[in-house]
Symmetry: D3
Subunit: 134 residues, 6 copies
C-alpha cells in the first residue's frame, strides 16, 4: 500500500496529464507505472523528476543498457524494493540477458563485501589513487 493514492488517468490535473503524455510518447507505450501515478499529486515534482530521469537515462557517452545496470545496482544497494523490480524490468527491456543479470548480482555482492571490509579496517586511500585527471 502506498502512503498516497495512485491517480488514475481520469484524476490527473492538466499539468500532470501533459507529463503522462510525454512518458507515453517517449516510451512508445500506453503503460504508465505506479511511481508516476503517486508523483502525480504534485505536477511540478512529477515534471522535474520525469524530465530528469528521461534526460539522464537517454543514450549518451554510456549506452542506455549500461545506465540501467548502474541504476539497478544503486537500487539494490539502497534496498528499494520498488526500484529493484521496476529497473530490473527496464534493464531486461533494454536488452539485459538473464546471464548478465546474474553477473550484475555477483558484482554488486562482491562490491558490498569489499566495501564493508574496507570500512571495517578503515583502509587509508593509496597515494596512487589520488592522482586526479583533468
Amino acid at each position: 500500500m502506498a502512503t498516497v493514492r495512485l491517480l488514475s488517468d481520469a484524476e490527473l490535473s492538466p499539468a500532470a496529464a501533459e507529463v503522462f503524455a510525454d512518458i507515453r510518447a517517449t516510451r512508445k507505450t500506453p503503460f504508465v507505472n505506479n511511481f508516476w501515478r503517486a508523483l502525480a499529486h504534485d505536477p511540478v515534482l512529477l515534471k522535474r523528476t520525469w524530465e530528469g530521469a528521461r534526460d539522464v537515462m537517454a543514450p549518451g557517452h554510456l549506452d542506455a543498457k549500461t545506465k540501467e545496470l548502474i541504476y539497478v545496482a544503486v537500487s539494490i544497494a539502497h534496498g528499494c524494493e520498488y526500484c529493484v523490480h521496476s529497473h530490473t524490468a527496464a534493464a531486461r527491456a533494454k536488452g539485459m540477458t538473464e546471464a548478465e543479470l546474474m553477473e550484475l548480482v555477483a558484482v554488486v555482492g562482491m562490491a558490498a563485501e569489499t566495501n564493508r571490509i574496507a570500512t571495517a579496517l578503515q583502509v587509508p586511500v593509496d597515494a596512487a589513487f589520488q592522482v586526479v585527471t583533468r
Copy 2:
C-alpha cells in the same frame, strides 16, 4: 589511519605472499594497494576475497569496464570512501573516460533521488513488473 597495521611485503606470511604474487601476476604490476595489505593479517580471508574479486571482475557476459562502473556505483551508494577512490581509479584504468564518469555520477544521483521518492510514497510494485522470465 586504519584499525589494523598495513603489512609491508617483508611482513607477509608465506600464504599471504602467495596471494600477493597472484595479485601482481593477474594485474601485471608490482603495485599492491592498501586494501590487500590490511587483509593480509588473515591469509584465509585474503585469499577468499582476492579470488572472489578476481573471478567476478573478469570479463564474462558483461565486459570488465561495465563491471567496474557497477562496482563504483555500489561503492558510492554505500558511502565507502576507500572504495570510491580505488574503483574510480580502476574504472579509469579499464577505459572509463571523464565524460563517462560524469554520466555515471548523473545516473547514480538520479537513481538515489527516485529510490528515495519511491520509498517515501511506498509505491506498490506494478503487476507488469512481476512477470518472471525463465
Copy 3:
C-alpha cells in the same frame, strides 16, 4: 510477519502494561500500534524506547510537526517500511498537509541525489563550512 509475536493487552507483563498505560495517556487514545506490541517482550527495552521517543518528540526548540518531518525523512533514507507508514501517519496527525508531504518528498529526493554526487566525486569540505560556532 514479525520475527516475534505481537503481544495483546492480555499478555502484557505488569511492567509492560504500565508503559502501555503511559502511551495511551500521552497520546490520548486507546490505540497502541504494533511497534510497541513487538517491544513488549522486553519491558526494560520497551520502557527506555518509549520514554526516549516521548521526550525527544515533545515540542521543544523545534515544534512537534517539524520533528515528525525530520523523523519521516530519516525513515525514508533508512528504507524502513514500517517507519515510513507510521511516521507519515503521525506527521499527518500533527498537521502535515498533503502539499507539505510532497514537498518533504521532493527535498528528501534532492538531498539523496546531491548526497550521492558529493560522495561520488569525493568533494572536500570547503574551509568556509569549517568555522564552528560556540
Copy 4:
C-alpha cells in the same frame, strides 16, 4: 581529495559560468562552494542539479529553514560528510539555532534507533496506518 579536479572560475566553460552566475545571484554572495566546482566538468549535470536544488529548496508550503533541517537529516542518515557540513552551515545561515541543531540530532538519533528496531522485529504495518487520504 576529490576524484575530479575542482574547477576555478577561470577554467569554467561558458555554460558552466552561466550557472555559477545564477548561483551567485540567487544566494547573493560571490562564494561558490566546492560541490559546484566539481560538477562544473559537466555543464548539463551542473545546470540540472543546481536548478533542481534551487527550486526545491525555495520557500513553498514548507519554509526554507524546515527544508534545510530535512536536508541535514537525510545527509546524516546517508553518512555524507560533505553534505552534513555544507547543509549544517546552510541551516545555520537560514536561522537554525544551536539548540535547534541539538534537537535535530536527538530526533535523527531516535529515528535511527526505532527504525532499526522495527526492521529487526519486522513489525507489520498497522491497519490504522494504511488509510490513504486523497
Copy 5:
C-alpha cells in the same frame, strides 16, 4: 515475488545439484531455502557464495552463534527483510534465546542512534583510538 524464478530440485543443472547436495550434507537437513533456489540460475555464483558462507560461518575464533548474531545485526542495518528472517531463524537454531534476541535488538538500536549522532556532529576520531596493535 522474486525477480528470477526459484528453481525446484528437478530443474537444477548438475553443477547446481552438487552444491545443493553439499548444503544438505553440511546442514544435515533436506530443506534448502529460497535464497539458494534463486542463485541456482548461476551455478558458479551459487558455488562461490555457498562455499564462502559455509566456511566463514563455521566455528573458528568466534563460535557459530556469535557469528550469527553479527550476521543478523548487519542484515538489520542493511534493511534486508529476507536476511533478517532467515538469519534470525538461523541464530535461534544455533541456540539464541528470545531474551538474547531482544538484547541484540537493543544493541543494534543503540548503535544506530549513536552512529547517526556521531555522523551528525562529525566527531573527530580521538588520538587514543588511533593506536594500532600489531
Copy 6:
C-alpha cells in the same frame, strides 16, 4: 572537524559535568572521548544517550564483548568512521583478539554480500522462517 565545538572539562555545565563524572566512574578511567564532548552542548541529550548506552552495553543475557562485536558490525554497515574506530577500540579493551576481529570482518563482509544478493533477486521469505516462537 566537528560541526560543533568539543567542550573541555572547564566548559561543562553542572549537568554535563555530572554525566562526565558517571562516565569516568563507570569506565574507571579519567579519559572521556570526543563523542561525549560534542554531546555536552545539550546535557539532556548527553544524559539520555550515556545512560542508554551504559545500560544497554552492560553484561546481561549477552556478555559485554559479544555486545561490542554487534556494535562494531552495525557501525561498519552504517559507514560511521568515528564509531568503527571507537568501538573497535572498545571491543579490544573487552578482550577481542586480532584473530576475532578478522573473523568479525569476514562475517560482516559475507553478510553484506548475501544481503545485497537477496535484495537483488527479491527472494521471498520461506514459510519455514515464518514460524514465530512465543
